[in-house]
């Protein structure tokens, strides 16, 4: 039962801020990718039991991220006034949500087939995953600057700091792209040893891991729009 408070109050004017849940939501995405990194290392070592266990963990975190996303959306009714445009905020939430979605997908694809490929490819996967994780973690740093931005109500210096981080995320995503292309080529060159099915599986994994970095870059770009169009 809801406790009656018997007050006529100014409380109704204060809506719950979407910014703290936004940061939490970004961190859930980060958590998914950190788990995915563990899972990929286990996959490369052939520890399929661990891959399976981590896949369940990632499913749980991805669901938590979804719940936060839904809460943010449901609380942004048309009467809510934010220091940024609501549309921009929602446009930025969407790619951010895809980070955990894509991590979940990669995690699933890791479970379907064992890793059987030359060591060069194994190293390539480790490098690709490490760079992707780095991109996502930099993206988390970027989102966490929102708190300071609100505190100073978007001071020029803080806006510049944030925009600088956006550029760094974009640069890092480009590095992921380069690794992604090299690794894909390497996989196709080894078709004879890996087999057609192996090529399909590994190429698909490469593309999906790259997607995670893509979504981080995309979300960072939308975040910039949100801050600049205020």
């Amino acid at each position: 039962m809801i406790k009656k408070e018997y007050i006529r109050s100014v409380l109704n004017i204060f809506a719950s801020s979407p910014f703290k849940p936004l940061v939490m939501h970004a961190n859930k995405g980060g958590d998914c990718v950190r788990k995915l990194n563990e899972s990929l290392l286990a996959f490369c070592d052939g520890d399929m039991e661990k891959v399976e266990a981590l896949n369940h963990e990632i499913d749980v975190i991805e669901h938590e991220a979804d719940v936060i996303k839904q809460t943010i959306r449901s609380e942004l009714s048309s009467s809510i006034m934010l220091p940024v445009h609501v549309i921009d905020l929602l446009n930025f939430l969407k790619p951010q949500d895809s980070i955990s979605d894509d991590a979940q997908e990669v995690s699933f694809w890791l479970t379907v087939r064992k890793f059987e490929a030359p060591d060069d490819i194994r190293d390539g996967f480790r490098e690709l995953m490490a760079k992707t994780l780095e991109t996502v973690e930099l993206y988390e740093d970027l989102v966490s600057t929102l708190g300071e931005l609100l505190e100073t109500s978007f001071s020029k210096r803080d806006v510049e700091d944030t925009l600088h981080l956006v550029v760094k995320v974009e640069e890092m995503e480009h590095q992921v792209d380069v690794i992604e292309k090299d690794l894909t080529k390497m996989i196709f060159r080894n078709e004879d040893t890996i087999g057609a099915l192996g090529v399909y599986h590994l190429a698909r994994l490469v593309r999906s891991i790259g997607d995670i970095a893509d979504k981080s870059e995309h979300a960072a770009d939308r975040l910039r729009t949100m801050i600049l169009r205020r």
């Binding site: 006529r8 109050s9 100014v10 409380l11 109704n12």
Partner: protein, 345 residues
């Protein structure tokens, strides 16, 4: 007439109930923002509010009290016919306003005590005119118009002032600082001062809602002269402080724990703007709603980009409560007045 006449006792009791109600709710609302921003503890707020509210009521509350007592309804011409009528009418007004406020509080509606009492006093006047005691044209429609106009202007003024104050803080202090959180710490002291200021302002304006009708009644019965007796002002001030101490602390606590967005710089801007607008109206003898002005000021800070999220739907709720409160309070008061006369009080 003695102080122990049942009619006088009823008037005093009803006035005290209104004062208690105002202290418990409206004052608590005004002070809750200081607790919410972490500037003061609840105990500190109650002590500061008690002292400043009392001072505001006793030393600066006379102008608005006169408006409520004599500005709207021509009590002197009613009193010339029968002083008793004024006392009964004002009792009806306090009872009607008190009843409506209690009901609104029960349903957590953002109803203003000021609007209720103005509506209720008007209801008494209308019933007096309906019964042919005075003419309809004797009711001071121009004063009433000014009062209603000030209800529109005061939240807008609060919003404008808060917008300007916060924009200043933002451009000249927050955006130049290396560490915005240290600025907030410095504003804690300033916010202690504005907490006092807002309590003073509230006391100066809202004490009239409780003791305006009481004074009018006492004046008609020959128990108070042209100047409002100090004991009446003290009664009003005391009633509000007791209301704050006995019930208001819960309201402050509820508001304080939920308003975490209002950091000291934001709280300072909203409170300073609200208090200034309210004091200005007290000086102009106009009764306004402190709570609605505060809502306006918070929106002003939000418009200046100071708040993470502001729910504007409250504006609609306030507008509705406005439109409903005056007629309902007026009708209830008129009916109670007619009823009291009917049973021969």
């Amino acid at each position: 007439m003695s102080l122990f006449d049942p009619l006088v006792l009823l008037l005093v009791a009803a006035g005290l109930y209104m004062a208690w109600n105002i202290g418990a709710n409206d004052l608590a609302n005004a002070m809750g923002t200081s607790v919410g921003s972490g500037a003061l503890s609840i105990k500190q707020v109650i002590i500061i509010a008690g002292i400043c509210e009392f001072a505001g009521a006793v030393f600066f509350g006379k102008r608005v009290t006169s408006t409520i007592a004599k500005g709207i309804v021509p009590v002197d011409s009613i009193s010339a016919i029968d002083p008793h009528l004024v006392a009964v009418g004002m009792l009806a007004a306090i009872l009607a306003a008190g009843f409506w406020i209690t009901l609104a509080t029960f349903y957590n509606l953002p109803v203003s005590t000021t609007h209720s009492i103005v509506g209720a006093v008007l209801g008494f006047g209308l019933m007096a005119a309906y019964k042919g005691i005075i003419g309809f044209e004797e009711i001071s429609w121009s004063v009433l118009g000014k009062i209603v106009g000030s209800w529109l202007v005061s939240p807008l003024l609060g919003a404008l002032l808060a917008y300007i104050i916060f924009s200043f803080i933002r451009y000249f202090i927050l955006q130049k600082a290396d560490d915005p959180y240290s600025i907030e710490k410095k504003f804690v002291f300033l916010q202690t001062m504005t907490a006092c200021y807002i309590a003073f302002a509230h006391g100066s304006n809202d004490v009239a809602n409780a003791i305006g009708p009481l004074y009018a009644g006492l004046n008609a019965l020959g128990m108070a002269g042209l100047n409002i007796p100090i004991w009446v002002m003290v009664l009003g001030g005391l009633g509000m402080v007791v209301g704050l101490a006995t019930w208001g602390h819960r309201v402050i606590e509820t508001i304080g724990t939920r308003i975490t967005e209002l950091t000291p710089t934001r709280g300072f801007s909203a409170e300073f703007a609200t208090a200034s607008v309210v004091v200005l109206h007290s000086y102009s003898s106009l009764p306004i709603s402190t709570t609605h002005t505060l809502v306006g000021s918070v929106i002003g800070v939000g418009l200046a980009g100071g708040l993470a999220a502001v729910d504007l739907s409250v504006i609609g709720k306030i507008a509705v409560s406005w439109i409903v409160t005056v007629p309902v309070a007026a009708l209830t008061s008129a009916l109670i007045f007619a009823g009291l006369l009917g049973v021969g009080i």
